[in-house]
């Protein structure tokens, strides 16, 4: 037994003791690390990961008790995450931890490094356990694989033997996905559901179009769509009451404002329509929101476009009863994250009278109000916190069905953006 092996065994023993006595809070112990290893060795290690330490009763028989099982654990899903570098891998590890060890039973983080070919495969396996208030212990396994050289072109073959069988597999690209890389198609093929964050797309139009054309059995998840959930809820609430629902057919203007960095923050807002290489477009949320409203309300065709100043633009759409002005405007601010919505205003000017439906965000509070026929009704303040990546991921891991409403909104968002580009060009 060499020294290194002994060190690892000791570490494992400590880890298992901690597990056994249920230390509070979250335990993250790297327990196995190997350079230049093989898929088979990794799989073999994963298979023994939860072998309980031998506990014997006073007669020397293996101890079996109803409540004293070392790891009572139910498996829920596999999550495959592909990142570009070690820094991104660290961020994902933190997000997974922040997930409160909520969903994945096994998370495999892939760090492909093309080019360099010696030591094709490094692996780091750790387990994370989190104790709930009721004394339940939630655990998951995390496998970080650095794949180099030619092997990086065959990621699916490396991952496949490492998945927990018979569980749904979610494939997530936390940053700009390599849409044109054959490995992308391999992993998409392998997943039951694929997850993206369209706020990370550097080529927003290309990305939206590609998502719109990806058909997947268990659907596509988009963390940006999840970011809109509370805005959608508040918007829908305006029209749950029949007395305000009558304004819906006569909406004539939708103004959406979204956050971009302040000019002095080092990054000029520039023209958010233009895609700058390497910089994600901040407009994804605003476009998906517009696409959602447009498809839900059956707004059809754009007529004219007025490019406004500083990256804002305005389209005219044809509703079922009215023409609708759709305006999307960036607003420099340091108060919220770039790309977050700041304000949504829906105006109705029909025979039913004038009304405006407003959600204005300042920091982590929003003012929600309805102005109908000159009266302000139901003015209220609601919490509006920017969800953490882990919360977004958690919600998207729970919904594992095709969402036609998202897919429609996605296609409409691409069309709105393309229209803005065309006229700007």
């Amino acid at each position: 037994m060499n020294l290194q092996t002994r060190a690892i065994l000791e570490e494992q023993a400590v880890h298992r003791r901690l597990m056994q006595f249920g230390e509070h809070a979250s335990l993250a112990t790297p327990i196995w690390e190997a350079r230049d290893t093989s898929v088979r060795a990794i799989a073999a290690h994963l298979a023994t990961l939860w072998d309980p330490p031998a506990r014997l009763d006073e007669r020397g028989d293996p101890l079996v008790t109803e409540k004293g099982l070392p790891h009572a654990r139910a498996s829920v899903l596999n999550l495959i995450v592909t990142v570009n570098d070690d820094a991104a891998a660290d961020r994902i590890v933190r997000t997974l931890l922040d997930l409160g060890v909520r969903h994945p039973s096994r998370a495999i983080v892939l760090v492909p490094q093309h080019g360099t070919a010696n030591q094709p495969l490094d692996a780091r396996i750790s387990t994370h356990c989190h104790e709930t208030d009721d004394g339940d212990r939630m655990c998951y396994e995390e496998v970080i694989l650095t794949v180099r050289g030619e092997a990086a072109d065959h990621l699916s073959g490396i991952v496949a033997p490492l998945l927990i069988h018979d569980l749904p597999t979610h494939v997530w690209w936390p940053s700009d996905p390599p849409f044109n890389d054959p490995v992308f198609d391999q992993l998409v093929e392998m997943g039951d559901r694929v997850l993206f964050d369209s706020s990370d797309f550097t080529d927003l139009l290309g990305g939206l179009r590609r998502l719109g054309s990806l058909r997947h059995a268990s659907g596509i998840g988009d963390l940006t769509w999840e970011r809109l959930a509370w805005w959608q809820e508040l918007t829908a609430q305006f029209f749950d009451a029949p007395r305000f629902r009558r304004y819906l057919p006569n909406l004539s203007r939708l103004l959406i404002r979204y956050a971009v960095p302040l000019p002095d923050a080092g990054m000029l807002p520039g023209d958010p329509n233009a895609s700058e290489p390497g910089v994600p477009s901040p407009m994804a949320q605003a476009l998906l929101y517009a696409g959602w409203i447009a498809t839900r309300l059956g707004w059809r065709r754009y007529r004219t476009l007025q490019p406004l100043q500083d990256g804002a633009f305005q389209l005219t759409l044809e509703g079922r009863h009215e023409m609708i002005e759709l305006a999307i405007r960036p607003e420099p601010t340091a108060a919220v994250r770039t790309g977050e919505l700041l304000s949504v205003r829906l105006r109705s000017l029909g025979e039913t009278g004038a009304a405006e439906f407003i959600i204005d965000r300042t920091g982590d509070v929003a003012v929600v109000a309805t102005n109908a026929d000159g009266m302000t009704a139901l003015l209220r303040r609601v919490a509006m916190e920017t969800p953490r990546e882990a919360e977004l991921l958690s919600a998207q891991l729970t919904d594992d069905v095709v969402d036609p409403i998202y897919e429609n909104a996605l296609r409409a968002a691409a069309i709105i953006l393309a229209s803005a580009r065309e006229s700007a060009g």
């Binding site: 079996v64 004394g135 179009r209 058909r215 609430q237 059956g298």
Partner: protein
Amino acid sequence: MATRTAEPPSAAVIPPPEAVPSAPHANPLREGLRHERIAEPCTMIICGATGDLTERKLAPALYNCLLDGFLPPEFTGVGFARRQWTDDEFRAHLLAGINKYSRNRPVKPEIWESIAATIEYQQGDFNDPAAYVELAKRLDRIDRDRGTAGNRLFYLAVPPSLYPEIVSHLHHAGLAASGDDRATGGKRGWTRVIVEKPFGYDLESARTLNRVIADVFDEDQVYRIDHYLGKETVQNLSVFRFGNGLFEPIWNRRYIDSVQITVAETVGVEGRGEFYDETGALRDVVQNHGLQLMAMFAMEPPVEFGPEDLRDEKLKVLRAVKPMSPADVATNVIRGQYVSGWVEGERITSYRDAPEVAPDSETDTFVALKLAIDSWRWAGVPFYLRTGKALPSRVTEIAVQFRRAPLALFSRAGVSQVDPNVLAIRVQPDEGILLRFGAKVPGQGLQIRTVNMDFRYGSSFAVDSPDAYETLLVDAMVGDASLFTRADEVERAWEILQPILDAWNTGQGGPLHFYAAGTWGPPAADELLERDGRAWRKP
């Protein structure tokens, strides 16, 4: 799983959305959102709003519903009680409750300001007709100002003895009728009333109570709250049975030997002496939680998961329970009362020494009974129910014992009969499912040991479950009565238990047994099963 590439859509036209089923006149923006079930604008009136229930349960539940977006923006809360409070005093009472008991806390001041503006207080004596007239005026004004559209949810957070008075005054003030039955108020909107348990004290009082309520409200307006039914597990029980193909085929007398239902508490009466001494375990737990759990466990699959279908099926189970003769009571029902002992490392004094308990009290703090469900599915399968205070652990579970393997195939190898398989469904505290089966001990020779396969909800879904009251309040606002008890269920449950109460009253029901706090009830309860060749589980 396959991907298919479609042409990118043309840039000029937003295509018509792909067919998303849409109900006519529905809010098109609501469809597909996480909350598809949204309460209509409404006012909730809490009668007895200054009490403990409001502070501990209702205010936190409403606040969490609001944060999660389950309440409509128009939602308005009105407290109605005797105390001379101002709106602000009432709001402070709610805020204190939320900051103390809510799963989300503390409340952000800037948001509370906005919530407080939707809360009012109506002072009034429950026996004063003028108070209800004032209340009616206030509710009409709220309908106008806040757009609550005449929808009203009354919550009777008062002792049942006050129900007749309140219900009758609501009626005379025109506050009880729904929609078209309303004399005034634009004939719009619904009125619903939530009633807390206990639903009566015995069969007769339950019938009287139901009649009092039925004189004023239609049954579809009445929501009897048994918070057990709002727990996630009880809903999981249905998913477990009807969402899996594996269990339902063996859920019958052919495969199941017996069923044990345990609702055990570790605490004694602790300050509830006066109430409990009048009530006892049979009334306090078996009548509602115990029989409801049994009904959910034993019912036939409903045709649909609608409220009436579900409650019809539960009622059928209760109707199939054979009522007992006094002789049956003496043999099949064991009642017990705890004497001093140790529970969870603490000393508990005898029940009779507890404050406000009669020194010669005959009240049951423990009851174990054997019931028979005379239905095609369950004939011959005994259902053993037990509940009690000052027991060794706090646990609610349903345990199914399956029949033994038909042959003792391994007896020649010196192995006696293998223990029967057990499937235990734990409701609380560690919600989950456990399956017990025999396995060979590795090595030469043949030795069989029983092992447990244990699944805990908490270890696969670490999601903050909503409190039962959150689920139930939203259900009542949406008009979904599935998790509420219907009048006929309540009365049938009392019909099952009344012969037991009568036998005890007339001294024919067998003696009161004593058990030390911290034990699983009196030895007579064990004998009840030993007679049948069975034993209680030690959960």
